[in-house]
Amino acid sequence: MSAPSTGGASRDGYGAALLNLADDPRVVVIEADLGKSTKSCLFRELYPERTISLGIAEQNMVLVAAGLASCGKVPFASTFAIFTERAFEQVRNGLARPGLVAHICGSHGGIHTGTDGSSAQSIEDLALYRTIPGMTVMHPSDDLSATKLTEELLNHPNPSYTRTARNKTPRIYDVDTVKSIQIGKGSVLKEGDDVAIIAIGVMVHKALEAAENLRSDGINATVVDMHTIKPLDTKLLDELANSVSGIVTVEDHSVIGGLGSAVSEYLSENNPTKIRKIGVDDRFGESGDSEELLSLVGLTVESIETAARTML
């Protein structure tokens, strides 16, 4: 059984943020049929006059968002992460290239999505959007941080892509600690001098669990929720590289092009550091329970611990 689909998944946090943003008349919500899944349906129920349903047509959706943005609106468009990829070139050429600001949310990201199988499990979205000049790319770790980061987009100067998760994971933040979260600034959740574990999305709570286990062996790990993959918090990366013996990156995403790549690209040129990347190896997923799938591809607390130990 997958975890419950409502209450506490980061997609719920996205839906809550749209409601919180509704007082601003510039906010427009755009859907390509999957509003009940991405949770934009919450906005639609209360603000139908500012919600545009476009049917199962993602390419059209992205350019409608661009057109709205060109007239001063702040569009929030969502579908499954995997289906945003169908409109990648639209995001590149129609939205980001002219410097228009609209915000794309891809829900159901990662292999964690579960039983729908590999066709729904986007493991390359973060890599794709990271290549687009000027694009902000985020992947929050729980519902509260998804709300905060989405709210921050209201006056954000760049177009953005935010991946949310389908399934509930343990909360990382509470209503107070979440207030300090900012786009582009990694959140240090735990401090330790031996090794740093930088994680995103549904893997953050596993990173925290791994750090707890390491501590009982006398190994002190820093744990970072790097919810913003672009722009990357390079200041924090430098601080980590200067203080620990190695860095482990953890993501429910391909090891090609995602968080681990972004961290490696920066540090290899600027502050060479031992890095181990934990993610989905160059493969597709399959149907199964979220936890079964994470285990299948090696995204486990144990693998994080093992990688961390190799850094000492």
Binding site: N60, M61, G67, S70, C71, K73, E89, Q90, G94, P98
Partner: protein, 273 residues
């Protein structure tokens, strides 16, 4: 609502000037798309002359009409009309396609005053126009959105996503002009992928459609007004000749995306007097 009254003769004269600008700037750049610029220019001249509410002194006005040139490779046609309406000057046109020029290879809103859309990748403009048309309605503004599509461009699936969405949402402030010049990059449209009776297809998607001769200025002016007066989204299928006005470019697929050489420029200019 009736917009500006302009004589057909003055529009035809402006179209001739624009044709000369088009051929000249493509020759200077040594690259560009003359065929689709020359097929579209009569339509564009009539639109700017009689309907489009734009002002070079206030190019970013939120109330301006939008012209979305989805077939963005026909950028010389847009630059030519923008010069006639004082958004650009001759030196801007002379820089077409050169480094740093406001006249980019394909029309780009980021670079050019008076350009409302960044094109170059076909199939996206009508969707963008839906966005601007929606914004007008949400803000209770009465500006109109005009989108020009190429006929080859309608091979893109996104165009039909957009046709479907616009009629579903009854965007009566959205107008389409299809430049039916029957030629695309590689060859004639009916060789590459015949689109058939495109008017009928658009109508089947819930639009009002009228077919005209896209080089009959009087018919164009009348059809543009028809589009304004028609409830719901409306489309004009304009039957045109690729390369219109330059005999050796007319109906010639090789001048879709090729610059005239020096001798060809001379011949073209002799015809465009």
């Amino acid at each position: 609502m009736k917009r500006t009254e302009v004589s057909v003769q003055s529009l035809e004269n402006m179209a001739k000037n624009c044709r000369r600008s088009i051929v000249d700037m493509i020759h200077k750049a040594g690259a560009g798309h003359p065929g689709g610029s020359l097929s579209a220019i009569d339509l564009i001249v009539a639109l700017y002359g009689t309907q489009l509410n734009v002002d070079s002194n206030n190019p970013d006005s939120s109330q301006r009409d939008r012209f979305i040139m989805s077939k963005g490779h026909a950028s010389p046609a847009v630059y030519a009309i923008l010069k006639e309406h004082n958004f650009l000057n001759q030196s801007d046109l002379d820089g077409f396609r050169s480094l740093g020029s406001v006249c980019q290879g394909h029309v780009d809103m980021k670079w050019t005053n008076g350009v409302d859309f960044s094109a170059g990748s076909l199939g996206m403009g009508l969707s963008f126009g839906i966005g601007t048309a929606f914004a007008a309605k949400m803000d209770s503004l009465d500006f109109q959105t005009w989108v020009m599509l190429g006929d080859g461009e309608t091979q893109e699936g996104q165009i039909w996503e957009a046709f479907m969405a616009a009629s579903y949402h009854n965007l009566d402030n959205l107008h389409v002009i299809i430049d039916r010049n029957r030629i695309q990059n590689d060859d004639f449209v009916n060789v590459q992928m015949e689109i058939g009776d495109v008017a009928n297809k658009v109508e089947a998607f819930g639009w009002s459609v009228r077919e005209i001769d896209g080089h009959d200025m009087e018919a164009i002016v009348e059809a543009l007004q028809w589009s304004m007066d028609t409830p719901g989204p409306s489309a004009i299928v304009a039957h045109t000749v690729k390369g219109k006005g330059v005999s050796f470019m007319e109906d010639n697929p090789s001048f879709h995306g090729k610059a005239p050489n020096d001798a060809e420029l001379t011949m073209a200019m002799e015809e465009l007097v």
